[in-house]
Symmetry: C2
């Protein structure tokens, strides 16, 4: 029997009204209970994940996708740690962000409030199921989660554990609805229920984002792809440049904040390109270079095709191009970037300032890896993803970004 | 010749890149020039507006609509004052909202940046044309404005004056595009240009909001209608209650923050209803009451129809209902309200607190008129409208709400 989408949305709305009023302690108790439950159910989680992995291997999924799907013992421990960490973060609901008196004598407080029901549509990373639930819930929202169908067994088990925790703490299980359908007609239907769902967060590739764009009547904050650039300026410390470029690619190649393209100022190309390409190759990275790079790399680089610029490889592949100056680097990023994360390596403060002003990505860095664009690394405590839309939130979305703000005003009989 | 929508959107995008980099002084110079120009062109503005008014009278538009369309000498002076006021407000672009260091040693700044191109679709209030341009422009954005066709001559003249000011200050006139088309196919086309337009703000009634909802692929912050309630609790100071209820309706009945419905606790109905209804009638307001109100009002109230609850009259009409308690008042507001503005009149702090928690409008007030939900009254300096969406901005949208925020990060070679 197919679940009725309207019924799910309605139940989520009803649950949201309850979740919005839960005390901080009640919310934390659920999160901590779930952390313990996941650790206790370690074996069951691994078994469910193994079913997904086996199916994915049969279907011929690539290594990067298999890595994202896998729940290793470490990944399971990290999910539990993530829950405990969200429990330890301050509750955003009710936080007073402004408090002032206006000339009419009214006292005005701007306070954070839950958004309501959040529908998140993402791909095959089962850990997102737990992270997204934890953040939405702590921010006082109910969530409807639609993960990738490749992760279905893992997701079902994790959602069941979450429901057990909610039930144990007498919170309506409607606080988390897991959609197991992959029927696009049903998802499309859900995207029209603006009376029940307040926000849609699609997190994934172009086809998913376009589908949601096309059909959603609900406000959307998209977590689109990260085509992240590192520009090595002529005034770069080349030692720093080498380490940053290599780790930004290799430390987690399947993540959205991994570097996909290195741009190198022509005045340092002679010195840097060969060393950099050798190091990439040594670390298992395929280099796709422009003509200059290929000629300097002594056979270690393959020629880049036009569509390798602006491409999110999500794998051990990197594009490398030599550019004449800062303007050309910025123009490349404007043309091929995705407003996600871009970095410059330079010791010249003026050039760094120009780069920061002209590259308007959600996070623009000087002398640091693109992989620092991450809610935890930037001090938000945790994140549900990285928004590449400028509306509502731009960059990592943590607890605060999962709330709205409203005005509470007290008067003494002011008329108008 | 019909203008090409894609061309307009493209030119706006190009202009936005320039406006984003203008100095505060350059932006203020344009705004002040426009203020002077509007005052100098007073006669021409009145003449253009008179053409719109004559056509509107011929078309049989109601009094409330004619009032919103009219540019009196006072209204013209207010537009110019509004421009000077926006010029005097702090520039939001570049404002640092957070500045901190994280354990990895990175220094992180969160700064406000322009959104880009803002498309605003609104109804027949020509003053909105000037207010919206001023706020979008000061916040570093280009805007595309589509006003009501009833205001077309007024809007064309005001846009021409703005273009003269931009030209005088050597700013691309693409900073303001006025759409004179009312062809829904063309607007629909524009709503698909997500590559050029960053935000759509529809401000108006149900049909406009639904049209934009249905067709926009661009993020939207809606300024929907205000079905504002005043609840008079049993612990109200009835003198305050009377003055607040009456002024909240009569001081500007055609605005979205005017009260449309008064809810009265049954324990004070005997004392209050007759006096309140008499006062409404004396001030020219038609009262539509429930049975109790009609019987207490001694012939001064008409029976309310079911669709008078939740209706935005925007006119000298008010619905009045007696309710048994706070719960019933809150339930009525949940059912019929529009998340815009609601107020309680009570001297009981506990009841006031409950009302503030349970009614989640963008602005919830205690012992003050709903008409204080206004950017100027709440200390934002000015507003482009009042958002009834929770995403991005909820309540009055001022300069800050017309910006995004992004992260600028400086390191010393941090790898990851």
């Amino acid at each position: 029997m197919t679940p009725d989408m309207r019924e799910i949305a309605k139940q989520s709305k009803a649950a949201a009204a309850v979740v919005a009023t839960l005390s901080t302690d009640a919310k934390n108790a659920c999160l901590l209970d779930l952390a313990d439950r996941i650790i206790r159910s370690n074996g069951a989680v691994c078994a469910a994940n193994e079913r997904d992995l086996a199916a994915a291997r049969d279907a011929g999924l690539g290594d990067a996708k298999l890595r994202r799907l896998a729940l290793t013992e470490t990944a399971i421990r990290q999910m539990a740690d993530g829950l405990r960490q969200v429990a330890s973060l301050p509750d955003p609901v009710g936080q007073v962000t402004r408090n002032y008196t206006v000339p009419s004598g009214l006292t005005v407080r701007k306070v954070r409030c839950p958004i309501g029901v959040i529908l998140m549509i993402y791909e095959a990373r089962p850990n997102v199921t737990v992270d997204a639930f934890a953040l939405c819930f702590k921010a006082g929202n109910a969530c409807i989660l639609k993960g990738g169908r490749e992760a279905i067994h893992s997701n079902e088990l994790l959602a069941r554990l979450a429901h057990e925790s909610l039930q144990a703490k007498r919170v309506p299980t409607g606080a988390l609805a897991l959609l197991t359908t992959s029927d696009r007609d049903e998802i499309r239907e859900l995207l029209t229920y603006e009376e029940y769902i307040d926000l849609v967060i699609p997190r994934g590739g172009a086809s998913l984002i376009h589908f949601v764009h096309e059909h959603s009547r609900i406000p959307t904050v998209q977590h689109f792809h990260g085509v992240c650039h590192v520009y090595v300026d002529e005034a770069a410390d080349l030692g720093k440049a080498l380490e940053i470029c290599v780790t930004a690619k290799t430390s987690a190649p399947a993540t959205c904040n991994a570097a996909e393209c290195i741009l190198i100022h022509e005045n340092v190309a002679q010195t840097l390109v060969q060393r950099l390409v050798e190091r990439f190759v040594r670390d298992g990275v395929e280099v796709r270079g422009d003509e200059t790079v290929c000629s300097l790399a002594a056979g270690n680089a393959n020629p880049a095709a036009e569509d390798d610029w602006g491409r999110e490889f999500l794998d051990l592949i990197v594009a490398v191009r030599v550019v004449p100056d800062l303007d050309a680097a910025v123009a490349h990023i404007h043309r091929y970037g995705s407003n996600h994360t871009d970095a410059i390596i330079t010791e010249d403060g003026i050039v760094a300032g120009r780069f920061l002003n002209r590259v308007q990505s959600s996070c623009t860095l000087v002398n640091a890896s693109t992989r620092f664009n991450d809610g935890f690394q930037l001090g938000l405590g945790a994140e549900i993803g990285i928004s590449t839309s400028k509306i509502h939130a731009y960059g990592p979305m943590g607890l605060e970004e999962l709330t709205a703000q409203r005005y509470l005003v007290r008067g003494t009989g002011q008329t108008r």
